[in-house]
């Protein structure tokens, strides 16, 4: 990609990327301290890695530990770099590639869930249809008046995207999504 943008002569040797990019879900256990998220995000932007989704929250209050879930995309070589570069960050305790762990256990992928709030405005037939579809998707109504609903929906990314797409012609106003939370199946911890 960059190769074409290089001038005819350059001080750098650039080779074409031939490997295929794949998606991975990483769990990163970090000390919950100021700037730790900036370190992680800065690493991704500074080294040109992709972030498809990133969520973070404190998970162990007493130990001041937060868990960051990152969905990223890259060639196997870049993915290996991402993991090692993350591990270099001083407040990072552990980096686990949940996708690889799942594959090692004979599963297609780790458990991945996302929560979305979806606001839909409408009256009459559209309104009934929205409610009916929400029911089919097991979305909860968490706020409503005579002109609108706010649905809360939880599920895999594909389900949420499908739900949002369906709501679009029915008066979709706004969407808020949490990003992916993920964990491996089975009794073992990360």
């Amino acid at each position: 990609m960059n190769a074409q943008l290089q001038p005819a002569g350059s001080a750098y040797f650039i080779t074409k990327e031939t490997e295929k990019a794949e998606a991975r879900t990483l769990a990163v256990l970090v000390d919950n301290e100021p700037g730790v998220l900036a370190r992680v995000i800065g690493l991704f932007s500074g080294r040109g890695y992709n972030i498809d989704s990133l969520t973070v929250s404190e998970t162990e209050h007493e130990k001041h530990l937060s868990r960051i879930t990152i969905v990223t995309r890259g060639t196997p070589h870049v993915l290996e770099q991402i993991k090692h570069q993350l591990e270099r960050i001083v407040p990072v305790h552990r980096v686990v590639d949940l996708s690889v762990t799942a594959q090692e256990r004979g599963q297609e992928r780790p458990l991945e869930r996302e929560l979305a709030m979806v606001k839909v405005r409408g009256t009459g037939e559209d309104r009934v249809e929205a409610l009916r579809l929400a029911d089919a998707f097991r979305a909860q109504v968490i706020d409503a008046n005579t002109e609108h609903f706010i649905f809360e929906i939880t599920g895999r990314v594909s389900k949420i995207e499908q739900f949002i797409a369906i709501m679009k012609p029915l008066g979709l106003v706004e969407v808020c999504r949490t990003g992916v939370a993920a964990m491996n199946r089975g009794p073992e911890g990360m």
Partner: protein
């Protein structure tokens, strides 16, 4: 916080006192810095004690490079102290320089009071934000009771694992506030555990691979130097035991002595023909503490195509970053070398006869004399100047720093380093202006040594103001300028790649360096003829004050051998082939498309 019984060393003091106390407790004797509003309380404490000596510089960048030179020549952390805002932003270049060359550097910055942070106060900047990508780690200390622990942790992080720069940003109110000081503790934070010993299985596999090698090579780097003198000692032992040839990166020079019989010279873009050819044709490559940098590998898809590769590095992210390797060993170079020497002694023996054809081949490559140049009796050839400097300083306690450019490469090619920690140069970042302040730092650490900055006329002007610091602190550094009036390396690339259009690479209005020396209150020497050079260098060595030596060299000399852009190790451009036409066509149409 839990209540704890009073321990030895725990006592109440101000944040500024804690800074000075932490410096003492971490064994710091010298710091480099520049005062300003947000660090005045710390400067006030420095004034009232004598254990920690402060070296006043003229620009914060100078403080950083001086601290780097100090660190690199001693193996200890270098320390710099600067104020908020511009003080901190001026520190960014040396921080990134130290990050790329793995130099332990502790930078303490003042910050506006915590209550003013975020208000665009006078001399405020987001120091931890700005320095986050150019440090190994950084801290903003908001509570004086955290300060001591953070400072100790900063020294620990800077000096362990792969060393690097750290920043501790201390708001002015925290410097004034009183709190409890705790002495350094051995309990490190749980998330930071740099590896030390390598995996024994992998080391055994590496020894097995090495024992069966027919065309082996050691490719060593700055990691060997960083690991400490013992690592260099062990490297020499392992080379002696195995009988393998050894080459090194720019950063690793001195770990194996240049006079050693197995030495091939530096490798890479301006490395020797024998080093690069041996890298290309080897069957087993043992990389120790180097990182397959793009200046080393040349064209990646043609890099050492038929070798099995062993890579020893303390930083797992260096493994497989640019070049995939067969046996990665994560650990400290010294520890792993110790294991390798022990295992080799126990289980392997060099088959000298099996290595003979390889050494014969290497001797053929050596016979090409890739560092040769056309001597001249009219003008001083820059290579000749470095050679004479080397010969005339042999046997002395000498430390060399450089700036960045052609002179740096000539210094690396023609100055022989026998010991580690004697060669200070900006490798990764390529910071013009590094050498002069670095020489100051080295001289402060080694007051009796002969410290020479082999400089270029363009680079040296970037931090020339530090001559004033050298004079103030009676640091008799020698600034040996290979003056060709060009930014030589820029010009060389313009000749190679841009149709000889020398866009802004000629410095038309250089100062008179001898008069400049006098203006700074030091000694100026000019030399224009090869016949006068030896006497002039001897004079430079004898003078007991800082010297600026204006060595007028052949203006248009270029740096060879060279791996041109888009080429592999076995496609070097050698000096005897580097005619004007060859230079102009060094990068063919295919190469241009590739790069």
């Amino acid at each position: 916080m839990e209540q704890r019984a009073p321990e030895a060393g725990r006592q109440e003091m101000t944040g500024a006192e804690m800074v000075v106390q932490a410096l003492k407790d971490n064994g710091v004797k010298h710091i480099f810095g520049y005062p300003g509003g947000a660090v005045l309380p710390i400067y006030d404490e420095l004034f009232q004690q004598e254990e920690v000596q402060h070296i006043l510089v003229r620009h914060e960048q100078g403080a950083g490079h001086a601290a780097e030179g100090y660190a690199r020549s001693t193996g200890k952390a270098g320390v710099m102290l600067v104020t908020s805002g511009p003080g901190a932003t001026n520190a960014v270049t040396p921080l990134q320089d130290a990050l790329m060359d793995s130099i332990p550097l502790v930078c303490i910055t003042g910050q506006v009071p915590t209550t003013l942070i975020g208000s665009d106060a006078f001399q405020e900047c987001d120091t931890v934000g700005i320095t986050r990508p150019c440090t190994k780690h950084n801290w903003l200390v908001r509570d004086v009771n955290d300060l001591a622990a953070v400072l100790h942790e900063a020294f620990h992080v800077a000096q362990t694992g792969r060393p690097g720069p750290v920043v501790v940003d201390i708001p002015k109110d925290v410097q004034f506030a009183r709190g409890i000081y705790t002495p350094p503790q051995t309990a490190p934070r749980t998330s930071y555990n740099p590896p030390l010993s390598g995996d024994q299985e992998k080391i055994r596999a590496a020894i097995g691979l090495m024992a069966g090698a027919r065309r082996p090579i050691f490719y060593t780097g700055g990691g060997v130097v960083n690991s400490g003198p013992e690592a260099s000692h062990l490297l020499r032992e392992l080379v002696e035991l195995t009988g393998f040839p050894v080459t090194s990166t720019l950063m690793g020079l001195g770990a194996y002595p240049a006079s050693g019989k197995n030495w091939l010279g530096m490798l890479g873009m301006h490395g020797t023909y024998e080093a690069n050819m041996a890298m290309h044709d080897c069957d087993v490559m043992v990389c120790i503490g180097a990182r397959f940098d793009d200046r080393i590998t040349g064209r990646l898809d043609a890099f050492s195509p038929n070798s099995r590769k062993i890579h020893i590095d303390v930083d797992p992210s260096s493994i497989n970053k640019n070049v995939p390797v067969d046996i990665p060993i994560i650990g400290d170079a010294g520890r792993v070398l110790e294991d390798m020497v022990r295992l080799w002694r126990a289980s392997a023996r060099t088959d000298k006869a099996a290595l003979k054809p390889w050494w014969e081949q290497i001797d053929k490559w050596r016979a090409r004399q890739s560092l040769a140049y056309k001597p001249s009796s009219d003008v001083i050839m820059p290579q000749y100047a470095v050679q004479r400097l080397y010969e005339l300083t042999k046997g002395r306690d000498v430390y060399i720093t450089t700036e960045v450019g052609q002179h740096q490469m000539w210094a690396a090619q023609h100055f022989g380093f026998e010991q580690p920690n004697r060669w200070m140069t900006s490798g990764g970042l390529g910071t013009m202006g590094y050498g002069l302040p670095a020489a100051l730092g080295v001289q402060i650490a080694h007051p009796e040594a002969l410290v020479i900055d082999i400089a270029g006329d363009a680079s040296v002007l970037m931090t020339m103001q530090e001559m004033s610091s050298a004079v103030q602190h009676r640091a008799p550094i020698k600034i040996f300028i290979l003056n060709n009036q060009y930014m030589g390396m820029v010009r060389q690339w313009q000749q190679l790649l841009h149709g000889n259009r020398l866009s802004h690479s000629y410095t038309e209005a250089l100062p008179d360096f001898v008069k400049l020396a006098e203006a700074y209150g030091c000694h100026g020497i000019r030399c224009e003829k090869p016949g006068d050079l030896d006497d002039a260098i001897r004079q430079m060595i004898e003078v007991k004050e800082p010297v600026i030596f204006d060595c007028r060299v052949a203006n248009l000399a270029n740096c060879f051998p060279m791996i041109p852009s888009g080429k592999a190790h076995n496609e070097m451009l050698l000096p005897d082939e580097a005619t004007d036409e060859a230079v102009a066509n060094a990068i063919d149409a295919k190469g241009r498309a590739l790069v």
